[in-house]
């Protein structure tokens, strides 16, 4: 799994590639959550994300909750199979997916 964080002012763009499962989720969480401090616009790019498990969903949920308090969060370029997961788990209701 590759994680890349890019700060521009108060905007943070995060790209995640590979599989976000029980094994890789802790690393993603350790990198992403501390980086959210002071961020007002969070963009998560899932263009190269192949799989997301409930452990990955948990981090998306946590960051959405944090961003609800301090700004906006947008998820971009979601592959159909990932979108299906968001749909099935009801995440589509409260995530902004573009």
């Amino acid at each position: 799994m590759d994680i890349n964080l890019e700060h521009v002012g108060t905007r943070l763009t995060v790209t995640v590639a590979g599989r976000l499962n029980t094994g890789t989720a802790p690393e993603f969480e350790e990198k992403l959550i501390p980086a959210l401090k002071g961020v007002e616009e969070l963009i998560i790019d899932f263009a190269d994300l192949d799989y997301i498990s409930s452990a990955g969903l948990r981090i998306v949920l946590t960051s959405q909750k944090i961003m609800n308090r301090q700004g906006t969060m947008v998820i971009r370029n979601v592959k159909p199979e990932i979108y299906e997961v968001f749909e099935m788990t009801g995440f589509v209701d409260f995530l902004t997916i573009q």
């Binding site: 029980t22 498990s53 409930s54 452990a55 969903l57 948990r58 949920l61 946590t62 909750k65 749909e87 099935m88 788990t89 009801g90 995440f91 209701d93 409260f94």
Partner: protein, 809 residues
């Protein structure tokens, strides 16, 4: 040095380098490398022995010595290719050098050269085995080794020629500036070349430096500093000693010559006086003689005759007659002759008592009734000196090739080794330095273009100058400094080697052994033990490590046992919380049901539940908590209890989920959530109301094998976000319909090819087993999943629930 000689040296230096490169390539890239080790060693040894012989036979002749680059060959063979090769090359080169004396090679350094070449091979072999562990040394260390061996070689030239140190010194002084750098450079370049061929990184980054390398570098610096300091001290002390020696040598010679000249002058004047005395014979007779005539007869300037009272009674100078000898300090000295015991007296050239303006040298000899005094005036004195001095100086040497010069105040040289007489100080080149120097002090000058150290003393109207060529004066110092320096290099090299061996054997090797065992321990082998017992410290370290590992092993075993026990309890509690398999009477109750949860770990995050709400309403659900293990199991218990207690208050399913969600969100610090699908079936009609909190859609079908997903847009998982409403959905089951609920452990079960079991395989599996009873159906689907997964490890819980609606008859 001529250009052709430079080329010759360059060729001799580079030959072993070229040979090393060629042999390295041959050993690693050709079939030569497949020969047995000893065969290769012998071939390499003989080859380098041959190069050593070339070094001997094509030595480079200079005026003082024959030089050659011979010792580099056995060093290169031994250091870069192996001990046996080094020893063979050394013996071949050394023995040939010994025999070569028979056909005209230098006899003088025969022993030193032969021994040094053999020693070079042995030394290289020893270092390769003990210091470098058969690895390449760094080029700087290789250079240092080359220097040490050449220094040993040149020191041996001294040791084997103790009876001819000057010649040994000449040879060594000529050879050292060429042979030491050439041999050392040859070894260093060969090492560098082979290292490049082997693509070894020559400069490691500092953090990667091995302990032994740090010790090597540290000791090398200490040794070099020690060498420089002691060399400076030795040079300083030897310089002082040599200056003192030179000073006393010059002084001694001046004193000797001065005494010789004095003796000769005294003797000459005495002789004249004696002749005059014999002629005059007595004071009485003197009175009858004309002293002018006597003086003329004996070719002297002045004659005085003194009677018993010490008064001059006759003289060549009338004005002296009647002078009382006791009246002046100079003249009074002669009165000793009036005593019985002394017959002759000579005085140095000085001012006379009669007149301060005049200078004379007198001698006196006793005659009857008094004594006769004969005197030289300035002219006589100079004449006498010029006659006597050359003899006193001619055969005198200061040291080996120094000499003496005697000159008068005007710079005319009276005597020197050159037998001159017409020579002047200006011609000798001493004049300028003499003018600024003080008597009795050492000064530097040139004597006919040779740099000399010199000293002068003023004697009676003349100067005696002693000198010695600088080179000769500093010979002993130079020899002492050179030999001391050589010995120091050898001693420091020996110290370096011994300390390095000791540190390596006592510390570094042991640390490596400890590290190797620690490596296997950290890799998971807790049964490994450290057994380094070569000294007390490491023995105690080994014991400590072993004790620690044992303690760790026990602690791990205890912890594992405790966790196992606790997990077993948790598992029992969890499975106890799930409903017992119920055996509903399909005719009476209108349905049959079976469910099972197979946790991937001891406890799981999945659960299912079912219960009657009243006679006609039956609730059933399947849920999946995010995460695994104890935390998931605890969250699962909370969710299950909450849902059941809400269900028993007769709330509709959407309201159950809405409230359960709000309560699960409260204090959910761990950010866990649970997906759930819950339905309530009205047993009279088959009408089902259900809600879906982010869970997989159920599959519905009949025993005809027509299963398909019953999708309805799910709401968000429970525990995700408080305050959101849940939707309620409805469907109708006809008698014979089967509704199958599952968790993603089924659809996302993964095989070794990383393929998911997937939605389609599930439908296909259900269709295939659709005629089975619910328990068998669940087991069959589970088995299909297991077969699909094969040996691939499973990380997720697998939960299935199957309900077949029959309708109450």
């Amino acid at each position: 040095m001529e250009l052709s000689t430079v080329f010759q040296f360059a060729a001799a230096t580079l030959l072993p380098v070229a040979a090393a490169m060629g042999l390295y390539v041959a050993e690693h890239r050709t079939e030569f490398g497949t020969l047995p080790y000893m065969v290769r060693q012998v071939i390499i040894g003989l080859l380098f022995g041959g190069i050593a012989i070339l070094g001997t036979e094509f030595g480079i002749q200079t005026t003082d010595a024959t030089m050659n680059v011979r010792d580099a060959s056995p060093l290169v063979a031994g250091l870069l290719f192996g001990g046996p090769a080094g020893i063979i090359a050394g013996v071949v080169g050394g023995v040939e050098r010994w025999l070569a004396a028979l056909w005209g090679r230098g006899m003088f350094t025969r022993v030193a050269c032969s021994v040094a070449t053999i020693a070079a091979g042995l030394y290289a072999a020893l270092l390769r085995k003990r210091m470098f562990d058969n690895k390449l040394p760094s080029w700087s260390l290789a250079f240092a080794i080359g220097v040490v061996v050449e220094v040993l070689h040149l020191t041996l030239v001294f040791v084997t020629n103790m009876d001819n140190i000057p010649r040994a010194f000449t040879v060594v002084r000529a050879c050292a500036p060429i042979m030491i750098p050439c041999n050392a450079l040859s070894v260093a370049l060969a090492t560098l070349a082979v290292a490049i061929l082997a693509k070894i990184k020559l400069h490691k980054a500092p953090p990667d430096r091995e302990l032994s390398n740090s010790i090597q570098a540290g000791m090398l610096i200490a040794v070099v500093v020690g060498l420089v300091v002691t060399t400076m001290f030795t040079a300083m002390i030897q310089n002082n000693i040599s200056e003192l020696q030179t000073e006393s040598l010059l002084k001694l010679n001046i004193e000797d010559v001065s005494a010789d000249v004095d003796d000769a002058l005294n003797e000459k004047l005495l002789n004249d006086t004696r002749k005059v005395a014999r002629y005059i014979n007595s004071v009485e007779r003197a009175k009858t003689l004309k002293m002018d005539e006597v003086a003329q007869q004996f070719d002297v300037t002045e004659i005085n005759v003194i009677d018993k009272t010490g008064t001059i009674v006759a003289s060549t100078y009338d004005r002296f007659i009647g002078f009382d000898m006791a009246s002046g300090a100079q003249s009074k000295e002669f009165l000793v002759l009036l005593n019985e015991d002394k017959k002759e007296f000579v005085q140095s050239y000085r001012n006379i008592s009669y007149s301060d303006a005049e200078q004379r040298k007198y001698a006196g000899v006793v005659i009857d009734g008094g004594f006769v005094q004969v005197g030289y005036d300035a002219v006589d004195f100079q004449k006498a000196i010029s006659e006597e001095v050359p003899e006193a100086v001619r055969n005198r040497h200061v040291g080996e090739s120094g000499g003496l010069v005697i000159a008068d105040a005007t710079g005319i040289v009276y005597g020197s080794q050159n037998d001159a007489g017409t020579e002047t100080l200006r011609q000798t080149g001493l004049a300028d330095a003499l003018n600024t120097a003080h008597p009795g002090e050492v000064f530097v000058a040139t004597y006919y273009d040779t740099p000399v150290v010199a000293m002068y003393q003023l004697a009676e109207g003349y100067r005696i100058i002693a000198f010695q060529p600088v080179e000769e004066a500093q010979f002993s110092r130079n020899v002492a400094v050179l030999v001391t320096e050589f010995m120091e290099i050898i001693v420091f090299a020996a110290l370096f080697t011994v300390i390095y061996f000791l540190v390596k054997r006592v510390v570094v090797d042991n640390i490596h052994r400890v590290n190797r065992v620690l490596g296997t321990i950290t890799a998971g082998n807790l049964d490994a033990s450290v057994e380094v017992r070569s000294n007390e410290e490491f023995s105690s370290l080994s014991d400590d490590i072993n004790t620690m590992v044992d303690a760790l092993k026990r602690a791990i075993a205890e912890a594992a046992a405790r966790i196992d026990a606790e997990l077993e309890y948790a598992r029992t509690i969890q499975s106890g919380a799930l409903p017992r398999p119920m055996e509903p009477n399909p005719q009476r109750d209108g349905f049959s049901i079976f469910a099972q949860m197979d946790a991937a770990k001891e406890v799981g995050g999945d659960f299912y539940d079912y219960y009657f709400l009243d006679d006609n309403h039956f609730a059933f659900l399947v849920a999946d908590v995010s995460g695994k293990g104890i935390p998931a199991a605890m969250f699962m218990m909370k969710a299950k209890t909450l849902i059941q207690s809400l269900a028993e208050t007769w709330l509709p399913v959407d309201e159950i989920f809405t409230r359960a969600n709000n309560q699960l969100c409260e204090g959910n610090e761990a950010e866990m959530f649970v997906t759930a699908w819950m339905g309530v079936v009205e047993l009279d009609t088959g009408h089902v109301v259900y809600a879906n909190a982010g869970h997989n859609p159920p599959v519905v079908g009949t025993e005809r094998g027509d299963f398909e997903y019953r999708k309805a847009r799910p709401n968000l998982v429970l525990g995700g976000m408080a305050g959101i409403p849940y939707r309620i959905y409805e469907m109708d089951l006809k008698p014979g319909d089967i509704i199958f609920l599952y968790t993603d452990g089924v659809t996302e079960a993964t095989n070794a090819q990383n393929e998911l079991f997937g939605d389609d395989r599930l439908v296909e599996s259900l269709n295939r087993h659709s005629k089975m009873a619910m328990e068998d159906l669940c087991n069959a689907v589970h088995k299909d999943v297991d077969d699909f997964v094969g040996e691939a490890p499973q990380f997720d819980d697998i939960t299935v629930l199957a309900l077949r609606f029959e309708g109450r008859k």
